[in-house]
């Protein structure tokens, strides 16, 4: 919250936008937040790997548009940059890298067995309620237009975490991780109108590097265990 109040009193002059526009932008923003939440649930229940990739790309697109709108509403110009960065990185580059990995490792036809989808959905709903409760005090004292999306951001983080727990395939776990990162990014934009540009650039670079390292890891896991199922990593020694 400290950062948020800082931002408000920062020397950058806040030119007030027209009120109706602001209202409309806030409505669009909450619709986009809802869509991000929807894609997070979609990732949780999707069985096919290509479906997961598409959903992840959609989530990135919604996030990018939402960041752009927040940038317009708050008049914080560097949000446009991070919006474009999100668009390039999370909608185009990362899905492309994962796509290439999937083709290289020939897992594109794999349909993953997920632990009981309806139960996962119910846990997901409980997580949404939990994160709403958790963020309710912050939302109460916040004065930003985007304050309501904070709960959605936290829920997205938790759903990404849940996905990493319930899935067994390494690639899907990575997608869960990246969707968690999307949630964090949304939290930053909704709670404080974005992190400073340097931090955002650093995070973006980190994600990119992480994707490459994941790729190397995938190949290592595959050569060592003959599959990307992380359950096989639980065995420490070869059995007869």
């Amino acid at each position: 919250m400290g950062l948020g109040t800082n931002k408000k009193t920062s020397p950058q002059p806040q030119v007030p936008r027209h009120n109706i526009f602001m209202n409309f932008a806030a409505q669009i923003n909450s619709i986009l937040a809802a869509l991000i939440l929807l894609t997070a649930f979609g990732l949780l229940v999707q069985r096919r790997i290509y479906g997961l990739l598409h959903l992840f790309a959609w989530q990135g697109l919604f996030l990018s548009i939402s960041t752009g709108i927040v940038g317009y509403v708050s008049n914080v110009n560097h949000l446009y940059i991070s919006s474009v960065l999100t668009l390039v990185l999370k909608v185009i580059v990362l899905p492309y890298i994962l796509h290439v990995l999937i083709i290289r490792m020939q897992i594109h036809k794999e349909v993953e067995t997920v632990v009981n989808i309806p139960t996962t959905m119910l846990i997901g709903i409980a997580l949404v309620i939990f994160s709403y409760h958790l963020t309710a005090p912050i939302i109460e004292i916040s004065t930003l237009v985007t304050k309501s999306t904070l709960a959605v951001a936290l829920a997205t983080v938790m759903l990404g975490l849940l996905m990493m727990i319930t899935r067994r395939n390494a690639v899907t776990q990575i997608i869960g991780f990246l969707s968690m990162e999307n949630g964090l990014f949304l939290a930053a934009t909704s709670a404080t109108y974005g992190m400073p540009l340097v931090v955002e650039l650093g995070v973006a670079l980190d994600i990119l590097i992480a994707a490459f390292i994941f790729g190397i890891f995938f190949f290592q896991i595959r050569t060592a265990f003959d599959s990307l199922d992380v359950n096989s990593m639980a065995k420490l020694k070869e059995e007869d």
Partner: protein, 315 residues
């Protein structure tokens, strides 16, 4: 004089329901034929089907009880009653005060309950199978339906359909994520409840896949005509409930007979669009395995719950 207007509107609305439901189904079938490259039988074919069935003799199984004979009349009557409550043309309905949307769902449940009993009454294997499947779908669809309706009720602070229409039309258009989720959930549930593809195929009599058709397989003559007609009205009513709750602009307000022609026109346009949407869904998707239906309806429940949550979180 002004006390007679609502009664006129009520009668007009029931007449429109009875007449327009087969045309609506005919429109859907015609579009479907076109989209699949077949020649259609024309938009009035459902009338000819019903008329033919009314002239045929009723064949009853020897062990059919009163439930089997009584069910078609009950289902037809209940469906007409629902049509008298849903604001299809105007919110100014005398009967709308008698039942809110929860009772509407209950009325549909009565019709379904008796249809399922009738399916088991004869004692054939198909009837029982159809009944058990129908009840499985119903037990999953009803909670989701209630959740979707509650979301709308939260927004408009009422469970009465007329009141919902009145509140939404008088407030003007606001983009609400909760309503968007509720629309999505409602479409899923409406497909399941009216037995369309991907949940059930209304055109099939293949033993392994039919659900609704399996229950009414033993009906013939005027009984079958009433069941078919009620089924058509059910599709029409679900489309009307969806229109009334989510896109009510164009439904005539209180004490205003002048708006009625415009309301009829708007209704026709919206129903044409709804039919087109349904045909697009039915042509684009294949019927899913019956064991995937819980997942399909589970996601409908998820959307409805998310809608309700996002009302509290985002608005």
């Amino acid at each position: 004089m002004s006390q007679i207007y609502p009664v006129i509107i009520e009668i007009l609305q029931i007449a429109i329901l009875l007449i327009a439901a087969p045309v609506f189904i005919g429109w859907i079938r015609m579009l479907k034929c076109w989209s699949q490259g077949r020649t259609s039988a024309g938009i009035l074919q459902p009338y000819r089907d019903i008329a033919k069935l009314f002239t045929k003799d009723v064949v009853l199984a020897e062990n059919a009880s009163w439930i089997f004979r009584f069910t078609p009349y009950l289902v037809f009557g209940v469906t007409v009653l629902v049509g008298a409550i849903v604001p299809i043309l105007s919110v100014d309905l005398p009967l709308s005060a008698t039942a809110d949307v929860i009772v509407l769902i209950g009325l549909f449940a009565i019709a379904r309950f008796f249809t399922a009993l009738a399916g088991m009454d004869i004692g054939t294997a198909f009837g029982g199978m159809g009944s058990s499947r129908e009840m499985m779908i119903a037990s999953l669809a009803e909670p989701a339906m209630l959740m979707a309706i509650f979301t709308v009720s939260l927004v408009s602070r009422s469970t009465s359909l007329s009141q919902i229409v009145h509140v939404i039309t008088s407030k003007g258009f606001i983009l609400r994520p909760s309503i968007a989720f509720a629309v999505l959930a409602f479409i899923f549930i409406a497909i399941a409840e009216t037995g369309r593809i991907p949940v059930d195929n209304p055109a099939t009599h293949l033993e392994l896949t039919m659900i609704h058709e399996a229950m009414i397989l033993e009906y013939s003559g005027r009984h079958l005509a009433l069941m078919e007609w009620a089924g058509m009205m059910k599709v029409f009513l679900f489309a009307s409930i969806g229109i009334a709750v989510f896109f009510p602009w164009g439904i005539a307000p209180k004490d205003n007979l002048i708006y009625l022609p415009a309301a009829i026109l708007f209704l026709a346009i919206k129903l044409c669009l709804a039919g087109t949407g349904l045909v697009l869904i039915e042509t684009g998707l294949a019927k899913m395995r019956i064991f995937r239906i819980p997942e399909f309806l589970g996601s409908a429940f998820l959307f409805a719950t998310l809608g309700m949550l996002s009302y509290f979180i985002l608005e």
